[in-house]
Structures are given as structure tokens and as C-alpha cells.
Amino acid sequence: MGKGWCLFFLFWPVAAVASCAMAPFVNWSFPYDNAQAASNLGIRIDGLFYLILVITAIVFIGTQAVLVYALWRSVNNREKRAMHIHGNHKLELIWSIIPGVILLFLSIYQMNIWADFRIKKYFPEAAVKAPLAEVTARQFEWRFRYPAIGKKLQQKPQSDDLYSVNELHVPFGKPVLIQLRSDDVQHSFFLPALRVKQDALPGLQIPVWFEANKPGIYDLVCAELCGWGHYKMKAHVIVESDGEYQKYLKNLTQKQFYDGLGKIASKDSSRESEAAEK
């Protein structure tokens, strides 16, 4: 039976490594057919993931190899009795210091990425200056408020703000910042393709920035169980060229100020209709 146990303990690490290795080819890996992250920051975050994966893989394979080797040796050498050791200062130092060094390295190594992603001081200046939109999570949909063309997003809703639901348009190749809010309970703004995830909390306005590096239609899903309709709380983020984005805003303005006859009037009508035609 001894050899059987050896094989048993050999089988699991081999199976784990094999399934890990085949993951990218059978769609068990990153979402969207293991596509590269659609933002540069996302690619860096994936880099961190792979780094940690490599480190843990080496440690895992190493420890499992030692385990199987130890089993195998004693199975083939039944004469030799096991022995008890009461502490080994040197060994203990080694197995404390090596993981400690690895963890310290990881925590220092990731600091730049974390700071770029989350610490407001390091946000891209252009994005902070002119937030793109306010995103309001609500049971069970996403509502968006853009400032009027040529204006800045204000804390409070303005009469010429533009609204949409479940469809966020974003220009690519340029960092954008959204102000994340929640109307009711906790939600989470999750853009899997861009590796962005941020909880939305009622009563807080949380800035989130991202920069999409290729156009496309990406899923925006809620990643915090928010009620019975959580599963259907899904929107599209449409990343397009700046020209198309401006066209979309113009279109949205026209739609929102539609008076049933195809004419647009507003507070000061000359400027407003000009903005709509631009």
C-alpha cells in the first residue's frame, strides 16, 4: 500500500500543474478567450498575477516533490525508523526568512501599480481635471450622467447634463475618470476586460479611472451581491475613437432635448443648438 500512497500524493500536484498549464487553451483562464487586458494598467496587473503564479508554482512543485521523495524513500527503506526532532533553529530561520523576503518583495514590487490604480495623487491629471461621467449603481441597472458638451461634470445634476442607462461610451487611448455612486445598497463596478473593480457605497462618491487601449464593447457587471436581480445588473462599456465619442454625445444631446419636432431649444438657444450641431 505504501507505493500506492506515493502515487496518490504524486497524482495531485501533477494534476494541479497540468490543469493550470492547459487552462489558457480550454478557456479556464482570463475572461474573453484569455484576451490580453484592454488597458495598459490591466496588462501590468496581469503581470503581477503571472509573477505570483510563477512564484507559487515553483514553491508548490518544490514542496510536493520533497513530499513525494520523502514518502518514496521511506517506502523503499522500511528498516529505518522515523525520528523525532525537537526544533532546528537553522531550519526555522530559513523557512521564515525565505517566505518573508518573497512577501516583502511582492509588496514593494506592486506598490507602483497600486498607487497608479488607487491613490488619487497619482491619477492621470487629465482624467482628474475633467471627469467623464457620474456612474450611479442602482438595483438593478447602471445609470450614467455626462456633463453637457464642453462643460465640466458638476457635483450636483445640471439642467443640461446628459443621461443614459446601461450604456457607457468612453473614448480610447486616453485616461478617463468616473465618479462612482450607489443609490441604494452596495454594488461593485467591475470591468473584467480592463481589470477594474471598485465597490460602490451608498453615501460615498468614489473616483475610478481607467484607460482603454483598444476600441470594443466591454461588459460592465456588478461584482457585489446586491439583491435578487444581481445577476442581471449588466451594462456595456463602449470604447470608441474620440471622434465617435463626440458624435455619440452630440446624438445624445439631440435626443435628450427632442421636442417632438426635431428642433432643439434651450436656456440660451443660440449656444445650445450650436453645441448640438458641432
Binding site: 438595483q139 436581480g229 442581471k232 451594462a235 421636442d259 417632438g260 428642433k263 436656456k267
Partner: protein
């Protein structure tokens, strides 16, 4: 060890027991409260007529003359599978159904040629991959290769599946607004069976356009639990709207038939008529009912369905839409001031409900109102909608517009009122200029500080 084994077996049994629960339940359409309040002899023909004309959720029925896209698909029998004598089903391979909806189980199949021409059978099972249809065996029908048939209600079935997946858990299987999640919602989900929808682009007396309903499905209703379903395709949304309107037509038809009978043949009325004061016997009442059923009821059914169908058809005509005669008046302080004066004036009486400051706290919210359906006072203060829910007049400062925030949306709310609610229509009494002034004033309120 004893503990482990017996418990383990129990634990394994749980998923086994729950497995049969995974089958789709064969639910039936429910009938309205009023139908069930009829005396059983009067309720029976109503229920039968509904079943004949509309079927059940899992056995949809085509009824000619409705403005519904039933989506008939023509098919041809390619070959018939030989079957044993004691098998209840007969299977055959078909062509013509390749590019259509893949779930046809339960739909009526009508033979258009061959021995069984004109006969209708229900599809017992259907395999899309192999285009195999199975129907019950019957003496009169022996399908042959080359026979043609129509599968009815394919589009309706597609709408039903989408509806059951996305809408049913709030709006209910029959569109009665009491799905399993509805109890958690305030405002409650709409009961479609009155055929009344609040946010429409149509004139005051008209029903909703399909486009209005599609817009509501796509955009959701801000400020309520109706979420946006923008990620559905246009085709899916139109299938859902088609089904929802069909549910409405079913509910309205039921209501019209019951209204015809309710005055004379409700359970309550029966008790009164057979009481000492009424002086009739039950036999007399039943005799009278029998006469009515034979002579007048067929016409009632005919009239109920055709009038409902006509109303829906009419709503979708182009001239049912409210189109302003004049473009929006420029949103100037003067226009808003004119709007404010109108708002406070006796002509519009906006302030009675919405309050002098537009906070939704007018004096009408403290009155006891009369239910227009029963002509009795509501038990609680404030306004009510036609579905019987208490309804507070909108606080105009919140910047939430349930029917959409375009100027034209507000214009249409003012022009046609909000159907099913006490919000009246001003299209007849105010000029376009005045309506636009009101729109400008009302839409400026959320951005107007604390005035």
C-alpha cells in the same frame, strides 16, 4: 460511524429529491378576482372562452383578429418515423423550420394538406437539431411525406420565453403583477390586464404604442424597480412587447366579459336575489343566465375581443401620437415665469396636488378621494391610481422623470395626462405655448435652489 453513514445518505437524497423540481412547471393563466367572484355557472363560460381564445402559457392559442404577431411558420413533412402500435406519439422529420425559433413544444400544429387537412394538434416534443416533431397519434391523421402544415404562435412563444425569463418574476405569469418578487417592490409592478400604461406618446384616450412599451423596456423607469433591459436586442424587445400586449388583450377581454355579467350574476348578487327581499329562486336565476348565455353571450365575447383589438390597432396608427403643433418655446426666465403663473393658476390647479412649491404635497394629498370604479371613498387619504395603489403626486424637484426626461416626454405627460392616474390631460384646455411654458417651468425646478 452510525452518525456519518445515515446522515450521508440523507445528504445525498436531498439533491435527488430536488431533481424533479427542475422541470418547468406547467402553469396556467390566472383569472381576475372579479371572474372568481361570479357565480360558478357564470364564470365557467368566461373561463372557457378565454381558454379557447388564448390558451395557457404552455399551450398558446392563436386567435385571429388580434393585432398580435403570432408568427406562423410553414413546414413540410420529410419522412415519418415508423412507430410501434402501443406508442402514444408519432414522430416525423420536417423541413422549413430550420431558421425559426428553436422551442416549439406545446404549440398548435395545423395540417394544411394531406389526410388530416384542417386538423390541429399540439406539438408534444420538438428537436431543433434534427427537425423532429412529435405529435399524439390519432385515427384521423396519418402524416405522409410531403404533407404541409403550419406551426402557429411561434413568435408569441419566443416572447413568452423571454417574458418568463426577464419579466415574469415581477409581473407574473399572466401579467397580473404578482410575480414572486413583486411583494418586495414599491411601487408595485404593473398589472397589464387593464391594458392601461402610464407613459405613452399617444393621445389621452388612446392605448400605448408598441414603441412606447419597447422604450420602457429598453430604458427602464427611473425611480421605480423597473430596470433597463438595454442589452436585449431590438428583436427580443419587440417579441416581449408583442407578448405583453397579447397578455393585456387577454386581460381586457376577460374584464369586458365579466363586466357584462357582474351586475346580475355575481355571487353577492345571487345571494341578494335569492334572499327574501329578492324573492327569486336559484332555479329562476339559472334559467335567466342560461338564456343570456345562449342569446347574448356569443355577441359579448365577439364584441369584447374585437373592441380591444381595435383599440390596440388604433393606438399604433401614426395619428394617435401627440405631436406638438409648435416647437418648444425657448427656455427663458420669462417663459418659466409664465409657466409658474399657470402652474399656480385656477386653470390648471397643478398646485392642488403637486403643492405650491412643486414638492408633491398639495392639499389634495390630505383629502379622501372617491374610487371611480366602485364609487366609494378610499379608506385612506391621498390620491390613488386605477390599480388601487396609493399614489403620491410627483415631487418635481427630484429630477427623476419616470416617463423620460426629454421635453417632449413632459409635454406629452401634460397633453395626455398620465393614464390610470388622477393626472389630467391638458391638451384640450391649454395652448401649445402654455404647455411649453409649463414644461420649461417644471423642468427648471430641480435646478432652482430651494424655491
Amino acid at each position: 460511524m452510525r452518525f456519518g453513514l445515515s446522515r450521508l445518505i440523507l445528504l445525498l437524497l436531498v439533491p435527488l429529491i430536488s431533481l424533479p423540481g427542475c422541470e418547468q412547471p406547467q402553469v396556467e393563466f390566472v383569472f381576475s378576482k372579479k371572474t372568481n367572484e361570479l357565480m360558478p355557472q357564470a364564470a365557467k363560460p368566461v373561463k372557457e372562452a378565454l381558454l379557447n381564445h388564448f390558451g395557457n402559457p404552455f399551450a398558446l392559442t392563436q386567435f385571429e383578429g388580434l393585432p398580435t404577431d403570432f408568427g406562423d411558420i410553414q413546414g413540410t413533412v420529410k419522412s415519418v418515423e415508423p412507430s410501434e402500435k402501443d406508442q402514444p406519439l408519432i414522430r416525423f422529420h420536417v423541413t422549413g423550420l430550420e431558421n425559426t425559433y428553436h422551442k416549439l413544444q406545446g404549440l398548435p400544429l395545423k395540417w394544411t394538406s394531406g389526410k388530416g387537412q384542417g386538423q390541429v394538434l399540439r406539438i408534444k416534443s420538438y428537436k431543433y437539431e434534427t427537425s423532429t416533431v412529435a405529435v399524439e397519434k390519432s385515427a384521423e391523421i396519418t402524416p405522409q411525406a410531403g404533407d404541409t402544415f403550419l406551426v402557429e404562435c411561434v413568435r408569441l412563444q419566443q416572447g413568452r420565453d423571454l417574458y418568463n425569463r426577464h419579466c415574469m418574476h415581477c409581473h407574473g405569469m399572466s401579467g397580473e403583477g404578482t410575480g414572486p418578487t413583486s411583494r418586495y417592490l414599491n411601487p408595485p409592478p404593473r398589472d397589464f390586464r387593464l391594458g392601461i400604461y402610464k407613459y405613452t406618446s399617444t393621445k389621452p384616450t388612446k392605448k400605448a404604442q408598441n414603441a412606447d412599451l419597447a422604450r420602457t423596456v429598453k430604458e427602464g423607469i427611473a425611480g421605480t424597480y423597473m430596470p433597463s433591459f438595454k442589452l436585449l436586442t431590438d428583436d427580443e424587445v419587440s417579441a416581449i412587447v408583442n407578448y405583453v400586449v397579447w397578455l393585456s388583450i387577454r386581460g381586457e377581454t376577460e374584464k369586458k366579459m365579466v363586466d357584462e355579467l357582474f351586475q346580475e350574476y355575481s355571487k353577492e348578487e345571487l345571494a341578494e336575489r335569492t334572499s327574501e327581499e329578492g324573492g327569486e329562486t336559484k332555479e329562476e336565476v339559472l334559467e335567466e343566465l342560461k338564456d343570456f348565455m345562449e342569446e347574448d353571450f356569443p355577441d359579448t365575447v365577439e364584441f369584447a375581443t374585437s373592441s380591444v383589438a381595435d383599440a390596440w390597432e388604433e393606438a399604433n396608427l401614426e395619428d394617435s401620437v401627440v405631436v406638438p403643433r409648435e416647437p418648444r418655446v425657448a427656455d427663458t426666465p420669462e417663459s418659466r415665469e409664465r409657466g409658474r403663473k399657470l402652474y399656480l393658476s385656477e386653470r390648471t390647479k397643478c398646485a392642488t396636488c403637486h403643492g405650491p412649491q412643486g414638492r408633491g404635497n398639495g392639499t389634495a394629498t390630505q383629502d379622501f378621494w372617491t374610487n371611480p370604479v366602485t364609487n366609494q371613498k378610499y379608506p385612506d387619504r391621498g390620491l390613488h391610481d386605477i390599480w388601487g395603489n396609493q399614489l403620491s403626486p410627483r415631487d418635481l424637484h427630484r429630477g427623476i422623470y419616470r416617463g423620460g426626461r426629454r421635453p417632449i416626454d413632459s409635454y406629452r405627460r401634460l397633453f395626455s395626462g398620465i393614464k390610470g392616474t388622477p393626472m389630467p390631460a391638458f391638451g384640450g384646455s391649454l395652448s401649445d405655448q402654455e404647455l411649453w411654458d409649463l414644461v420649461n417651468y417644471v423642468m427648471s425646478l430641480p435646478y432652482d435652489g430651494n424655491r
